[in-house]
Symmetry: C2
Amino acid sequence: MTGFTEDELVQAVRTILGGAAPGVLLGPGDDAALVEPGAHVGVLTADLLIEGVHFERASIAARDLGHKSLTVNVSDVAAMGGSPRYGLVSLGVPPDVELSWLVELFGGIRDAAQDYGMSVVGGDTSRAECIVVSVAVTGEVAAAGAVTRAGARPGDRVVVTGALGAAAGGVRLAREGDRAALTSDWGRALIAAADRPSARVGEGQTLAGAGASAMIDISDGLARDLGRVCAESHVGAAVRLADVPVAEALRPFGAAFGVEPLQLALGGGEDYELLACLPPERVEDARAALRERFDTALTDVGAVRASPGMVAVAADGSERPLEPSGWDHFAA
Amino acid sequence: MTGFTEDELVQAVRTILGGAAPGVLLGPGDDAALVEPGAHVGVLTADLLIEGVHFERASIAARDLGHKSLTVNVSDVAAMGGSPRYGLVSLGVPPDVELSWLVELFGGIRDAAQDYGMSVVGGDTSRAECIVVSVAVTGEVAAAGAVTRAGARPGDRVVVTGALGAAAGGVRLAREGDRAALTSDWGRALIAAADRPSARVGEGQTLAGAGASAMIDISDGLARDLGRVCAESHVGAAVRLADVPVAEALRPFGAAFGVEPLQLALGGGEDYELLACLPPERVEDARAALRERFDTALTDVGAVRASPGMVAVAADGSERPLEPSGWDHFAA
């Protein structure tokens, strides 16, 4: 990171991110950004990506890391039923990082901003011992449409978008995979799931519109994140194991690495799919809408119960406790 | 950092920061926070504090660090003439940090939120190798009242709030001072300036209302930050050295450490005073208003010129180039 100053970096970032954008009155480069007042309820969220904890520099492309740093925040906005509007990106940069790497990182951030119809309007840069990518995103949601974790009611169905576990498989594959596995079709699919996830913005709005009583994005695994919904809603839940949508690419991966795909689908994090609770009579319409509008699957995996605790229901109907074996940054 | 999980930390933070707050529809703990729509133009800013770069864990109290992490952001909002509303705090925490330290940190964040009439509504936590405190703040400003760095006009006066250089003196004193210096009245004043600065929110609004053509907070030193205003406004400036308001406590410090106080006032960072450009006929009213409302000094230190470049004007009227000898995180 020798050879350029903070002001030069700020100028490079302004060039990459610059240009007029809807609602942005003043973009990066001043003390703060200025944006038009929002007509709806504001949605605010922030997420931190730290080298050595959330990613390894050698195993993720800077462009993917940039894209993902926005995606993980946008996913939180999506889980409220909202639309992202503006992003702030703060970067900690070790001395051995090249300007070209930072340009790629901001290229990925710009790509994500375009994908999600939002603008990055500011942030901060600093030296650091390891790479720190700290992003905050603001968005909007119609007051009637905002969905928290706290509204699940007994009898609601538990539904999830897409398929689960691929990102966790990709993380393990990146660490342990050989060349053959990494270059296989299923290997590429798993790595892409880990490095370049997509936030389900339209799906979140559709589920909110369909009457979702609670919603969360699956960042720490189905079991742990469903547990959070149960805790906030003061309910329990039953998950039918046979119905959990396991990512296809986990089958060959599981065979090669001796891993049970269902375990990754239940406990693996970073899928950024959405989990919602829906009144039973709304599930079919929501499923049809997600398929038609976004080509995204919606799977009914269980039900909300009045009694606390989560249970896993086997194919034969037997029940056992469902442990929140998701990923905890601190307990590790 | 053993002994507690991420969910437990989130719960502790919710307890410290929790409670109803104006405009907050949903505070920390869900995927994202929900806030009432703003009536005015939105102000967005973010700042990163990293252990070993911006602070040393051993030499700043956790409570001061928490307070300062909001202050540096609020100062950016103040420099636009705005009012802070909501904060997002993302924390990277090494394994050897105790929960009690984090409770103090969040206590300081809460204190600052109260001082500035704002609410912390969310954020993120993660393990890290060093302490990372990443804060984003949103605020509001009347569209007509927003002041950027880009509006300075030749003939405007250059004014600064308060006194300069104390924070830079405090940083050096913390590193090199002996017990006698650290416990002297001037030593305590310098340390407090570095560890517990205040953002000039009311002053910024008053200067905006007085017709400031450009404004910036002095985070990297008078010379460097004035240089930024000149660059964005495509103007130059002349600073009368004899009129630069040097912090009183720097005189004994300068004598003891062989440092020229004026150098710290010109080049030292982190004072979080405001620098504004004002039409000459507005200076007296602005000065009176700041004194009456906030007991804050406003000093005329020079003038904006049409010709590019910054000059320092000595007492005898001679001029020499004013170097932007502020603090650059990267050039070091």
